[in-house]
């Protein structure tokens, strides 16, 4: 009798658990689909609209004058690479160094709290404001637009994301690892660079990629800095073309031909971002050992 009632209770519980379990996983799957759906939709729509205008010319030629058909965005692709290269050159080392300071040296100090607060505020500054600031700081004194100023604007935009992720990732490294290094007679700076930062590197790299992908599509900070350029230029002292700028200019133009090129440009921009992120991830995880955590 006793066993029987227990069995029944167990049975009811079983169904309740079955339902709750499937409800929870159903919700999780649904949320995932909702999150991924717009992304897939954007990509598919870009392929639908842009792929037909893609050809070799798109990657090898510069824009043609209005009325003349054909032409490409080769200068904008190279320009974007130059701008992102300059931006990363500035943003990655500064961002990582600031993150190291926050997590390893300034921990809890007043300067660290101030820097952390500034980084969070900087993260929320609209990108157009960043463009105007760099315009005032670099473009006005130099009296001309330049790739350099565009790179600086993108670099500054990368810093807060990189700094904060670096800090978080370093704080996740267990203290026992730091003690192990110090206990071996390793100087603190060396331990920070070769042990703590290395242990946290997968997360730090993710942070850098996040920042990179974010600024790769930025138009606003480039409007007043890199300015755009319809001709070939790789000089950091000249105005330079950039994919987002070119897309912007073409998209708001009245010409159908340019609209098609803008779609193609958007597709290329997304593919380039995905490829470069995947490439960095591949290169940096190649040497990971069996059983490494």
């Amino acid at each position: 009798m006793m066993a029987n009632t227990q069995y029944k209770a167990g049975k009811a519980n079983h169904w309740r658990r079955f339902l709750a379990n499937h409800l929870a996983s159903g919700l999780a799957v649904a949320s995932t689909i909702i999150v991924v759906a717009p992304l897939v939709a954007i990509l598919l729509y870009l392929i639908y609209k842009g792929a037909s205008s893609l050809n070799l010319n798109f990657f090898t030629q510069i824009p043609r004058p209005v009325g003349e058909s054909g032409g490409g965005m080769a200068n904008a692709i190279v320009g974007s690479a130059v701008l992102l290269g300059l931006g990363s050159l500035l943003g990655v080392p500064l961002g990582i160094a600031a993150g190291i300071y926050l997590a390893e040296f300034g921990r809890g100090g007043r300067l660290a709290n101030f820097v952390r607060f500034t980084a969070d505020v900087l993260n929320g500054v609209p990108s157009i404001v960043m463009g105007i600031s760099v315009y005032a700081l670099i473009v006005l004194p130099q009296k001309h637009f330049s790739a350099l100023s565009g790179g600086v604007a993108l670099g500054i935009m990368m810093i807060p994301t990189i700094t904060r992720t670096t800090e978080e990732m370093l704080l996740m490294v267990p203290n026992s690892i730091r003690e192990a290094a110090l206990g071996l007679g390793v100087p603190n700076w060396r331990s920070v660079l070769s042990i703590t930062l290395k242990t946290a590197s997968p997360g730090v790299i993710t942070g850098c990629m996040l920042a990179f992908a974010r600024v790769a599509g930025e138009t606003a900070p480039l409007l007043f800095t890199a300015f755009g350029n319809n001709f070939w230029s790789t000089s950091v002292n000249e105005p330079i073309a950039a994919l987002p700028l070119q897309i912007y200019v073409y998209a708001i133009s009245p010409y159908d031909e340019w609209h098609r090129l803008a779609w193609a440009g958007a597709l290329v921009l997304i593919v380039l971002i995905v490829v470069s992120v995947a490439l960095v991830r591949y290169v940096t995880t190649r040497g990971v050992l069996k059983g490494a955590s």
Binding site: S176, L184, G185, R190, I195, G291, A292, S293
Partner: protein, 252 residues
């Protein structure tokens, strides 16, 4: 060869907490010395004062003198130099997770700028043999991460890593407390063998372990060294009532 350790009037604080009070003792060379006592009695703080790890905590403070051989630990050298001469093994195995077994053992030398491949190979092999781990790992030295080993193997890896920088003293802060009995027995065997070359100070909660491995034993209570004598004397005929109470399990 190991060297003796002379501790005089050692006091240590964490913030306002006076965790070590007037410790005086002589730890003889080439022996294992066990430190026992209830949790929070200061025995871990004490070993951390010997290699100046205590001061890595910003609120920590130390006074008094420690001599290791003829080296004045708090006046003659930087903490970095001290820690190269005084190796340390921690309670929880802490191999560097991103490094291979080989790199873990070589890390102490490499991170101090030592690069000679052939010598590194030799040191790694010798240290792993010393730590009784060589036969288990020699085939995947560079293939496997140190973190992929079992807990007991990881702890022996950490011992090998400490031995690779050729210290004179080996501090072990409850090295077997996170390990199963078989791994514990291996670590204890190891302590027996290492004694001939190093001076060993081992903190332990396990009194049988102290009795098994150590020539001398010190009993700490509330930041004071209550009694320090041969292990045999401490466990058979302790001079202090509190020591007797502790080892017979009457408090704690």
């Amino acid at each position: 060869m190991g060297v003796g350790i002379e501790v005089k009037n050692l006091n240590a604080w964490y913030g306002n907490n006076h965790t070590l009070q007037d410790i005086n003792l002589h730890i003889p060379a080439n022996q294992a010395t066990a430190l026992i006592g209830p949790s929070g009695c200061g025995k871990s703080t004490f070993v951390r004062c010997l290699n100046r790890m205590h001061e890595t905590n910003p609120i920590a403070k130390v006074e008094g003198s420690v001599h290791i051989g003829d080296l004045d630990v708090y006046n003659d050298a930087s903490p970095v130099e001290i820690r190269r001469r005084v190796g340390m093994v921690f309670q929880r195995p802490n191999p560097f997770p991103t490094m291979s077994i080989y790199d873990n053992v070589a890390s102490g030398l490499r991170l101090n700028g030592f690069r000679n491949r052939r010598v590194l190979d030799e040191v790694v092999e010798r240290s792993l043999k010393h730590a009784a781990l060589w036969d288990e790992v020699k085939d995947d030295l560079k293939k496997k991460s140190g973190a992929s080993l079992s807990g007991g193997q990881q702890q022996r890896l950490c011992i090998a890593r400490a031995l690779a920088v050729d210290p004179e003293v080996l501090l072990m802060d409850e090295p077997a407390s996170a390990l199963d009995p078989v791994s514990t027995a291996k670590i204890e065997d190891l302590i027996f063998q290492l004694k001939s070359q190093y001076t060993i100070v081992i903190v332990t909660h396990n009194m049988q372990q102290a009795a098994r491995v150590a020539e001398r034993t010190g009993f700490f209570l509330s930041g004071k060294l209550v009694e320090f004598d041969t292990t045999h004397k401490i466990f058979t005929n302790p001079g202090d009532k509190r020591t007797e109470d502790y080892i017979t399990g009457r408090f704690g």
